[in-house]
């Protein structure tokens, strides 16, 4: 198995490569390994925007052996939450890191001048990044690097836009134009280290322990993937397919969650986008699904008749939620313009949309004045939002400086906590399905809908007790630690069932039973939780914004008492894990 860890120190432009077979054997790869590396390399009390912060990129043992093992895990300290930052991206990052010979890459320190890194097998080049610095458009940065650096087809180009340089706490790192280490502010960490981009390229071979078996298992996984529902659903309409059903279910947060139904849902649905705007689909490396949907945005030049610029924009459910329904924008053209703006600066779309939605309501309610927001923000006003996104990057006054630090922070300063939609400091994802969704955002260790997929539990189970619900969420999150250690795409979770995973390890020379896998998932979860607590996470402090109890969800109006009880139980279970009691055993669910 791949066991090389590349450790780069930007403070003195040096690097070393360590072989750590035991680390990868014990913790699989991906998030399992990244948690251990972060523990070793970083002071948990580090200030996220100083040289003390450490970034770990980790890939798993199935990359590049099997299809759909197409993701990389990034771990760091989040400048948005001040706690553990974890974010996953596709594109070509995982395969490029693997083909360059590494299992994980650690980045420490801080450069004196802007730099970008070129990483190859056994070698790191520190390159002068001054000419790229202050180019606000991440698309342009990507193009310049793609034109000037060799390795097309076998490389990844990870970079930040202006938002990362300006330390917007929810700036992302973009890879291959359309994929992102989106959440929790990795872009700002890059910016603080004066790291504009990382290119990784490689051509490498690994020899399987059992070649014949390897081809057989590969074919089995490939066939299962091609015939899966995921292949159909995510390839055809992509995640945008969820807009109509979730709206039907009273679960699509609208106008800062003053409602969970959007009257213009049809207009911005996956179906409408596919029919009117879809231009092409592309895929992450080694993924047969090709879920990335690119829409064509044609913008006329204002003063020149019959002149247009045509731009390809990738859309997904979360972006339609955050930049349409959440801010009351009901047009596809508006959606694509807003996505384009957010992409150019390299902002996280969910956090941006939620921050703007909060600001709009705060202005309506008189908590903010137009002196703060400079322009009038109102739900549905695309032009206003486009300008406001410019201001998030430019930060021309105190208000935008605060808003660039997230909605939790901005509402600390200005008020409006009741409708500041953040969980654990991270802006809310787009599912108001019920208890499981919101409890999942709060208890999930990265405060994401992907931690434990509460939105899915809400749609299936309506009569769980608070305790049962927490157990179920944690069990799912434990299992997902296995998937994010491998690191396979969550869309392939029904392809990579525990029996398939165990079988896929064999030809690689690794024996691991289904039971052992499940245990590993629990252990990794606990290790991550312990690290999070060391970084200052206190579950007692989890805040549930009042707004979620005001607006009807799929499960009707939510009851605060239910959430309180669930929280109490969760606090107990955290305490048990960190050694203030015996540790609970979660029953695992491996499929939905």
């Amino acid at each position: 198995m791949r066991d090389a860890v590349l450790i780069i120190d930007l403070s003195n432009y040096s690097y070393e490569i360590e072989h750590r077979p035991n680390l990868f054997e014990e913790w699989i790869g991906g998030v399992g390994v990244a948690v251990q590396l972060l523990k070793e390399q970083m002071n948990p009390k580090a200030d996220p925007l100083t040289e003390e912060n450490v970034i770990v990129f980790a890939t798993g043992p199935f990359t590049p052996a099997y299809p759909l093992a197409s993701k990389t895990v990034a771990l760091f300290k989040s400048p948005l939450t001040g706690n553990l930052g974890e974010s996953h991206a596709g594109g070509r990052t995982a395969t490029s890191i693997a083909n360059a010979g590494y299992g994980a890459i650690v980045i420490k320190g801080k450069s004196r001048k802007p730099v970008y890194l070129v990483i190859e097998n056994g070698k790191v080049h520190f390159k002068d990044g001054r000419a790229l610095w202050s180019i606000p458009d991440s698309l342009v940065v990507g193009r310049i690097l793609a034109e000037n650096e060799p390795g097309r087809g076998i490389r990844t180009v990870m970079r930040i836009g202006g938002a990362g340089e300006k330390l917007v706490r929810y700036a992302c790192v973009t890879t291959e134009t359309y994929r992102h280490f989106g959440r929790l502010g990795l872009g700002a960490v890059f910016g603080s280290k004066r790291l504009k981009a990382i290119i990784v390229r490689g051509r490498k071979k690994y020899v399987p322990a059992d070649g014949k078996k390897f081809r057989e298992v590969y074919d089995e996984i490939f066939k299962k993937a091609i015939e899966s529902d995921a292949m159909k659903k995510y390839h055809l309409l992509g995640t945008a397919a969820n807009i109509l059903p979730l709206n039907e279910l009273n679960s699509l947060p609208t106008r800062n969650l003053q409602s969970a139904r959007f009257e213009n849902a049809e207009e911005i649905s996956g179906e409408a986008l596919a029919e009117h705007n879809l231009g092409r689909r592309i895929a992450c490396s080694h993924c047969p699904i090709a879920c990335i949907h690119l829409a064509t945005l044609r913008i006329p030049y204002e003063n020149e008749p019959y002149f247009y610029k045509t731009i390809m924009i990738s859309y997904d459910y979360e972006l339609i939620y955050s930049l349409c329904s959440m801010v009351g924008v009901g047009s596809r053209d508006g959606l694509l313009r807003l996505i384009h703006k957010v992409e150019s600066y390299g902002l996280d779309a969910i956090s941006t949309g939620v921050c703007l939605a909060w600001a709009t309501e705060a202005l309506e309610k008189g908590i903010l004045s137009e002196k703060d927001t400079i322009i009038k923000l109102s739900f549905g006003d695309i032009k206003g939002y486009l300008k406001a996104i410019d201001y998030l990057y430019e930060q021309p006054n105190d208000f935008y400086r605060h808003l660039a630090m997230g909605v939790e922070h901005a509402s600390d300063v200005y008020g409006g906590k009741v409708f500041a939609l953040a969980f654990g400091g991270n802006e809310m994802p787009g599912y108001h399905t019920g208890y499981a969704a919101h409890l999942g955002y709060a208890t999930g260790l990265r405060h994401s809908h992907l931690d434990s997929a509460g939105y899915s539990i809400d749609q299936k189970e309506k009569s769980l007790t608070p305790k049962e619900l927490i157990d179920k969420l944690i069990a799912e999150e434990c299992w997902r630690q296995v998937l994010s250690s491998l690191v396979v795409c969550f869309f392939a979770r029904k392809v990579y069932t525990s029996d398939v995973i165990s079988k896929a390890f064999e030809p690689l020379g690794v024996e691991i039973s289904e039971d052992e896998l499940k245990k590993k998932g629990e252990e990794i979860y606990k290790e991550k939780l312990r690290l999070k607590v060391k970084m200052g996470f206190n579950p007692e402090n989890l805040r549930f914004p009042k707004r979620i109890f005001e607006t009807e969800s799929l499960q009707g109006k939510l009851d605060e008492k239910f959430i309180e009880e669930a929280k109490k139980y969760y606090v107990r279970s955290v305490n048990e894990v960190i050694g203030l009691g015996s540790s609970p055993h979660y029953t695992l669910i491996t499929s939905e």
């Binding site: 071979k205 070649g211 090709a290």
Partner: protein, 146 residues
């Protein structure tokens, strides 16, 4: 599987069915490294086909592999005879003779010869293995007249 007639030889080749459908997934590239049943590899070192974006994915993706020239320029510049023209088009590669000089890579006008990890080269032998793994109908393995 070759049928020779007097003048025209009919042979099977890897062909493009619809380039516009390429999503850039690279499944073909990884398949190529697995193509030898006796020594399948993981990775891309030995891959003779490459999926690229057209200077950024906003312009789509495409694949590059040996076009099986009738009069292959790569074989002409090979100093050791490691690359020899194949009857009906394309080349036969004998890696034992290959120096790793990469003259062939420079001679190929469509950049369809690739460098392996060990410094030698990878070039398509038109075995068709990869076409079984293209999920989007870009590649096929078909008889063509040469």
């Amino acid at each position: 599987m070759r049928i020779y007639t007097n003048l025209v030889s009919v042979m099977k080749r890897l062909v493009i069915k619809d380039l516009e459908k390429c999503v850039g997934c690279g499944l073909c590239m990884y398949a190529c490294s697995r193509k030898f049943a006796k020594k399948p590899e993981i990775g891309n070192s030995n891959s003779a086909i490459l999926a690229i974006s057209l200077s950024g994915f906003e312009r789509g993706a495409t694949v590059i592999f040996c076009h099986a020239c009738i009069d292959p320029p790569c074989a002409q510049v090979c100093p050791t005879g490691a690359l020899k023209p194949k009857k009906g088009g394309g080349v036969v590669y004998n890696e034992n003779l290959c120096l790793g000089c990469k003259y062939c890579m420079n001679a190929c006008p469509i950049n369809a010869i690739f460098e392996r990890e060990d410094g030698k080269i990878a070039v398509c032998i038109h075995c068709g293995y990869c076409s079984n793994y293209c999920p989007h109908g870009v590649l096929a393995y078909e008889e063509v007249e040469a």
